[in-house]
Amino acid sequence: MDITDLFQLLFSGLSVGGIYALIAVGFVTIYNVNGVINFAQGEFVMIAAMTAASLVSAGTPLWISAVIAVIVAALVGVLVQRLALHPARLNGDVVLLIITIGVSTLLRGLALMIWGSNPKTLPPFMKGEPVNVLEIVIPRQDFFIAGIAVVMMVLLFLFFEKTMLGSALRACMMNREVSRLLGIFPNRMALLSFLLGAALAGVVGISVAPVSLATYDMGLLIGLKGFVAAVLGGLVSIPGAVLGGILLGVLESLGAGLVSSGYKDAIAFLILLVVMVIRPQGIFRVKSGKRV
């Protein structure tokens, strides 16, 4: 194992980490506005991947399929918020949490009925031979994944920091009741957060499907990994979620490459356990108690 291999592992980890980061951002956005961990987040990823794959195999051009798939995922997110969570919003967090678990099972079951259990393929957005950079080989689709992760994060930053709507959403994430006093409708923000979270998951779905294949049950593991990333980042901050995702991807890749490939998934959950026990506020946050 020489230095090139180490960099190779690092790069594979970065592209996977970008994926985890995007899902984690979705988790954090939804959690802070709705006060609930949305365990159906991975299912939004699956819906986008499956929609795109079946549109492409039906003859729709790749990019159009991708856009439609993200819209479909976002719409499903909106429907889930309106039909399942909104009516129950006055109940405790545990009820809401269980609803999202029910929704995730429901969506997985529906996907099985609609698409069957065979894996589907989506052609990569960037075709051709992998690229050689200083003896490190990088598949072209990884550039796409990294690129889309960066673009999405920049867009998210602009949205949250520079737009009225984004600021309102952020205010609502910080304190629901006070933002209501300021004329922000928390209900609309809740809907918006699901739209955003599901759309982000949709982007993840179309980026990973060419690499990992699309299956009806792909959402479970990818959702859990995104959740671990969000917890690493402390569950309340978006930059924390991004860093958590990238860290998780890199650690997984290095762990599988340097220690043993049998423990790849175990590494993620071991990290989750350690963080939960030692630093429940997330590894990047110095002080706790910011949430009121």
Binding site: M1, D2, D5, Q8, L9, S12, V16, L83, A84, P87, A88, L90, N91, V95, I98, I99, G102, V103, T105, L106, R108, G109, L110, L112, M113, G116, S117, N118, P119, T121, E129, P130, N132, V137, P139, Q141, V208, V211, S212, L213, T215, D217, M218, L221, I222, E252, S253, L254, A256, G257, S260, S261, G262, K264, D265
Partner: protein, 403 residues
């Protein structure tokens, strides 16, 4: 107001859970319903149970296998069954899960009172049912490939299987590697009973052929990325990489191998042989990949005196016209399983029982099947030889026989 909300909530929650559960079990209820419908028409029928991976991670195998079995039975029943008595299938989904596989076996034996069971389609799902089937005295013809399914034979009185043994596949691959002068190989095994069985058997065989296993990597059934494992292998730079895995994991390994720009020789065991293999791996990535497999993909390239040629040809054309889908060696194994059971029922004459099927399975000789020519005996519950395994290579996006 709160009351209404609460009731709306509980109803929607219950509904969502119920629909989710229904969807999960949908496949198997549908199957058994249609099968039961036929049973009312033919009260007198030989009941055969099918325990396969219709959903879950091994469903790439399970669905075509179910199709193959159903096609066999449909044709048999249309031609008058076995001496006028039709076969009735009871099909359940084991969800690619060991525990569920045992539940399904119990249901087939106790509730449906079947004469024999086909399945599971993988080594782990089969291993889970073996002690129970032996205890109950019901013949099980597995479509899993691990050698321990039928070995040691004295502890496998009621257990048979149709896929080639890992032993035979290993011998064939080792001969091939020796011919190609490949000495140092890396081994990637699926992280379950199938991969472990392949690894331990190949290790023994490799020693006889002067082949060194320089590194061993594991890959999970649901893994989406095998690049770290392949990066490690790349640094070892072996002459060839042997993969003991099934799709989709197998396809992802092939894809990652291409993505990492590796040019060692890539060889898959028979388990990777689902018809979607090339498509799932991607055409460019699959080019030049080798597989040790059965003959269905290269039937036109076989010599005319091959005893299986006509049999497989009929199978391929029937399957493709009925299901509008390509065949693979994997579904052929399930076709062989029902073929063996039917043969054993025929040999039983008028007295058909679980016992007679078991005894007559051991007497089957020179039975031409899809996977090979079966010669079973009390010491051999599988009946194939390394000659029934072929080495194929993807050339210009098509499987080609390597001579």
């Amino acid at each position: 107001m709160k009351k209404i909300l609460r009731s709306v909530l509980s109803i929607s929650l219950v509904l969502s859970l119920v629909t989710g559960l229904m969807a999960c079990s949908q496949t198997n209820t549908q199957e058994s319903n249609t099968e039961q419908a036929t049973s009312t028409v033919n009260l007198d029928a030989y009941k055969i149970g099918v325990n396969l991976e219709l959903t879950g991670s091994a469903s790439v195998w399970g669905l075509p296998q179910k199709n193959a079995i159903e096609m066999y039975v449909k044709q048999l029943n249309e031609n008058g069954g076995i001496n006028g008595i039709p076969i009735e299938l009871v099909i359940y989904d084991n969800e690619s899960n060991e525990t569920q596989s045992l539940v399904v076996s119990k249901k087939l034996v106790e509730q449906d009172q079947v004469l024999a069971v086909i399945g599971g389609g993988t080594t782990p799902t089969t291993m889970a049912s073996i002690p129970y089937m032996n205890k109950q005295g019901v013949p099980l013809v597995s479509v899993g490939s691990g050698d321990e399914i039928v070995l040691p034979v004295e502890e496998r009185k009621w257990i048979f299987k149709t896929p080639s043994n890992n032993q035979d596949i290993s011998v064939k691959i080792a001969e091939f590697l020796q011919n190609q002068e490949k000495k140092d190989i890396a081994f990637i095994a699926l992280n379950n009973a199938y991969g472990d069985s392949g690894l331990s058997v190949f290790r023994e065989v490799a020693a006889d052929y002067d082949i060194n296993i320089v590194s061993v990597e594991k890959v999970g059934l649901g893994d989406k990325d095998a690049k770290p494992q392949l990066t490690r292998i790349k640094s070892e730079n072996p002459d060839a990489i042997l993969v003991w895995a099934i799709p989709p994991a197998a396809s992802i390994i092939n894809r990652n191998y291409w993505e990492l720009n590796m040019h060692n020789m890539l060889v898959f065991s028979a388990g990777a042989g689902a018809n979607a293999f090339i498509e799932l791996a991607g055409k460019e990535a699959a080019e030049e990949t080798y597989i040790a497999s059965g003959k269905v993909w290269v039937i036109d390239q076989l010599s005319d005196d091959d005893p299986q040629k006509t049999f497989i040809k009929n199978y391929v054309s029937n399957y493709e016209s009925l299901y509008n889908d390509g065949v693979s060696p994997i579904d052929g194994m399930a076709y062989d399983a029902i073929h063996l059971i039917v043969k054993a029922i025929e040999l039983s004459g008028d007295e058909v029982s679980r016992e007679s099927i078991r005894n007559n399975l051991e007497k089957i000789q020179d039975l031409v099947g899809i996977t090979g020519v079966f010669n079973l005996s009390p010491d051999n519950h599988q009946g194939l030889t390394p000659k029934d395994v072929e080495i194929l290579q993807v050339q210009n996006g098509e499987w080609t026989l390597v001579k």
